[in-house]
């Protein structure tokens, strides 16, 4: 069995109680958990999808800037937090599977465990408008 690290398990439990949408990815970028509040952004329930590799979950939404220009994935906060192991934040627009355009702010940070273990990254989403 490949078990989740306890820091990740506790992060999931914590996120499951919060009303802000939260996404957690592992070091490979696999989306290993998103909370109920995040489900409407992706348009999928976690219980239905389970974990999703980056190639799958990255196609569930389209990110763009204020002018509607698509954003490169490597400019998104969660990708930066994971790849560069530093916190990142920006606001942008997102259109999920429900076809609603949302203005969101995303704060993402790497998850570093005891002994400096790199465990992945977490993104917290704040909806500016729906």
């Amino acid at each position: 069995m490949i078990a989740k690290e306890v820091e990740i398990i506790l992060a999931r439990q914590w996120a499951s109680y919060l009303a802000m949408p939260i996404f957690i990815v592992d070091p490979q970028g696999t989306l290993i958990y998103y909370n109920e509040s995040a489900e409407h952004i992706l348009g999928r329930r976690f219980e239905e999808t389970g974990e999703m590799p980056v190639a799958e979950w990255a196609t569930l939404f389209k990110a763009s800037d204020e002018a509607g220009k698509p954003l490169d994935s490597d400019t998104l906060p969660l990708v930066i937090a994971l790849a560069e192991r530093r916190p990142a934040r920006r606001d942008f627009w997102i259109r999920g599977l429900d076809d609603v355009l949302r203005h969101i702010e995303v704060s993402a940070f790497p998850l570093i465990g005891l002994g400096q273990r790199h465990l992945g990254a977490m993104a917290i989403v704040w909806e500016v408008s729906a």
């Binding site: 069995m1 078990a3 690290e5 306890v6 499951s16 005891l114």
Partner: protein
């Protein structure tokens, strides 16, 4: 291998006539290999009596600490091998985010809490931080990993050809779970405990007590049994008994939980002096306890 329980109480030593059968000493378990290797799991107050039984010819002993809460280290200063200059005492335990194991242990093993510094113990003391890569001590192959309990805490999985014993004395896998248990991979400690021949696990509270103590780092008896079932263990030892639970309380609570949960494994309530033999003369993994229910 032979496993002996020297201290089964949680949180606080609780000697007295009402705890005489299960015992009042805090967490300490001896694991002795067929080759004479001795592992000591935690250094609660039970370690003092254990130390007095070790052979005088012993030259190395390994103490595996799950964490550094007082009920798991209070006996360390009274562990006879630490005062023997002919013995190597290897202490394994978790560092914190900012302090190494030596600095953390020295907070207790130094004045004013203890009169003798760790560095002044006559034995040769070797410290090892966990969790780390799997390691070997004598015939034992050992894995450690962090588990859900306040402050850095590990559980241990000890493997030999005779079988597997897993030690999770302080563990709250149900913390924050909106339904428990979750799947194996999302449950703290489950990979360590998977298919263990013997699991020694936290079972401190009743369900009612747990409601008032969520986040304290311990399990209720039903949660502990559910965890054991999820991990597919064969033999379960409820451990780390609440200091307020008398022998009669424990008899009743364990019997009630067995009736309610109907766990699919053998149960031997953790009592001081209980021994388990892991493996058989034919070399087939399995446990034989000196008492058991369920």
């Amino acid at each position: 291998m032979k496993i002996t329980l020297w201290g089964t109480r949680g949180s606080l030593a609780s000697p007295g006539p009402e705890t005489a059968r299960y015992g009042g000493n805090t967490s300490c378990v001896e694991v002795r290999g067929g080759d004479g290797t001795v592992l000591v799991l935690d250094a609660g107050t039970g370690i003092r009596r254990l130390g007095a039984t070790l052979p005088k010819t012993l030259r190395r002993v390994d103490v595996l600490l799950t964490h550094l809460h007082m009920d798991h280290i209070q006996g360390l200063g009274f562990f006879a091998p630490l005062r023997n200059p002919n013995v190597e005492v290897h202490i394994w335990g978790p560092a914190s985010v900012t302090l190494g194991l030596r600095a953390r242990l020295s907070r207790y093993l130094s004045p004013p809490l203890f009169p003798v510094h760790l560095r002044d113990m006559p034995s040769t003391v070797c410290l090892h931080e966990v969790p780390c890569a799997e390691f070997d001590v004598g015939e034992f192959h050992i894995n450690s990993s962090l588990v859900c309990h306040p402050d850095p805490t590990v559980g241990y999985r000890i493997m030999t050809p005779d079988g597997v014993v897993v030690y999770l004395p302080d563990h709250e896998p149900a913390l924050g779970a909106q339904q428990f248990p979750l799947s194996q991979d999302w449950t703290s400690g489950c990979a360590l405990a998977e298919n263990a021949d013997l699991l020694i696990h936290d079972a401190q509270y009743t369900p009612q007590e747990y409601e008032d103590r969520v986040g304290f780092g311990h399990s209720s008896l039903p949660q502990a049994f559910e965890f054991g079932a999820l991990a597919g263990v064969k033999h379960f030892v409820p451990f780390h008994h609440d200091p307020a639970h008398s022998d009669d309380d424990l008899d009743r609570l364990i019997a009630e939980t067995v009736t309610a949960v109907k766990p699919p494994f053998q149960i031997t309530p953790g009592a001081e002096g209980t021994t388990f033999a892991l493996g058989t003369a034919e070399g087939t993994p399995g446990t034989k306890g000196n008492s058991g229910t369920g």
